[in-house]
Symmetry: none
Subunit: 217 residues, 2 copies
DNA sequence: ACCAAAAACAGGGTTAAATCCCACAGAATT
DNA sequence: AATTCTGTGGGATTTAACCCTGTTTTTGGT
């Protein structure tokens, strides 16, 4: 039987070696190389022509997304399976767009790792349940806006104004005074903008505002 | 020969299992349990009384620092070796103060992992070169103001716990359920901790939590 | 071993806010 | 002419915050 030839890319040596030790338990998978950043990953793909690359995202020098783009372009035969950390569900489209055949969360069961590798090797896509959900929802929402996954541009001017004030810790009443409207109106805008952003609590709203640069930490 | 009894704590299943697979290669080390957040870690220490805990820092529900504090206090026989991600050199003092016997970066060679475990098990401290450097520099600079004037140190364990959960967007009722106390109690802790931090709204509280690294953006 | 202080716990009553459902006018689109 | 989007609100209900009070447990100190 022909083994699946793997390249494992992660800047954390201990994590990388741990994953290799895990994969050593799978009889049909062989780790033929490792890399600790995106640049190294691209080089190793060139040297080794692995079947599948398991790619971390956050890395120094060159991150996993950029490396995936280059591998897809220069070595389209090599499939990339991306390993995600936490709330990287937001980057799902970027990851797929970069050319990854699938991705799996580090919080997934370790048994799924080999399944994911086999899936992408056989030409299938592999998406975690969370990812699949995002895709399905996107499709259900019209699938017209694929790639422009950031709903910020959908906000009206008024909603952006309210978002900023909310993130700046003004109360509903204060915002109503500032904008010279009823608190009820402000609540309406808040409800609408949170629906559009698919955010359902203040914490995530503030994190969003920080990521968008609307406020600073 | 008596094996070193280990508990491995990390919320990423794949990473955790990988580390276990690595440690399985060391003849003198036996992984007797795993946990995927700080709270579980403390419970498992109580149940299993391991010799050494390998502890990740960034985790939901209860982070590794808080768990380390509790383990040090309740089960001083159990040594904690902290696993650090990236620029957590800033937290070196917090880590040591929390009671860890040492810490090792995930970017360290995987062979060092077993060395670190053996070191802390034998009562020694284990610091990475970067950490040692920070210690030396701090010493040379006079080591005067360490942890001063940050009211975070005034918080009680319970308050820190509540702070993290609030910042993770759990509602008062959910926190009450998680901690198995009355919502009224949670409110009390929240009031007290916000008074101590001189923070009077949720927005600033969340920003504070982000600055302190209690949660991530 | 004891006392005082702090911490954790929780109830009552009041006020403020969020949530849900609904409505309507004006502008822009179709 | 009809429809959608945006900004604007009301009413009713649920939920959380706030302030005050108290008990039990834990902790620290001499």
């Amino acid at each position: 039987m022909q083994k699946i030839r793997m390249l494992v890319v992660d800047d954390h040596t201990i994590v990388r070696d741990g994953i290799c030790a895990l994969l050593a338990l799978a009889a049909d998978i062989e780790v033929v190389g490792e890399a600790e950043n995106g640049r190294e990953a691209v080089e190793k793909v060139k040297q080794l022509a692995p079947d599948v690359v398991l790619m971390d995202i956050v890395m120094p020098i060159m991150d996993g997304l950029e490396a995936t783009r280059r591998i897809r372009k220069e070595f389209p035969e090599t499939k990339v399976l991306v390993l995600t950390q936490y709330d990287e569900e937001e980057y799902i489209f970027s990851i797929i767009e970069a050319g990854a055949k699938g991705f799996i969360s580090k919080t997934a069961a370790s048994s799924e790792l080999a399944s994911g590798i086999r899936a992408v090797h056989h030409g299938a896509s592999f998406l975690s349940p969370t990812a699949a959900k995002v895709f399905v929802e996107d499709f259900q929402l019209g699938a017209s806006m694929r790639g422009k996954q950031d709903p910020y541009h959908q906000l009206t001017n008024r909603e952006r104004e309210v978002l900023k004030l909310v993130a700046e810790a003004y109360t509903t009443r204060e915002i109503a005074d500032i904008l010279a409207v009823s608190p009820k109106t402000v609540e309406g805008h808040k409800t609408n903008l949170m629906d559009k952003l698919d955010i359902h609590n203040k914490t995530d709203l503030i994190k969003y505002a920080i990521r968008k640069g609307i406020i600073t930490v």
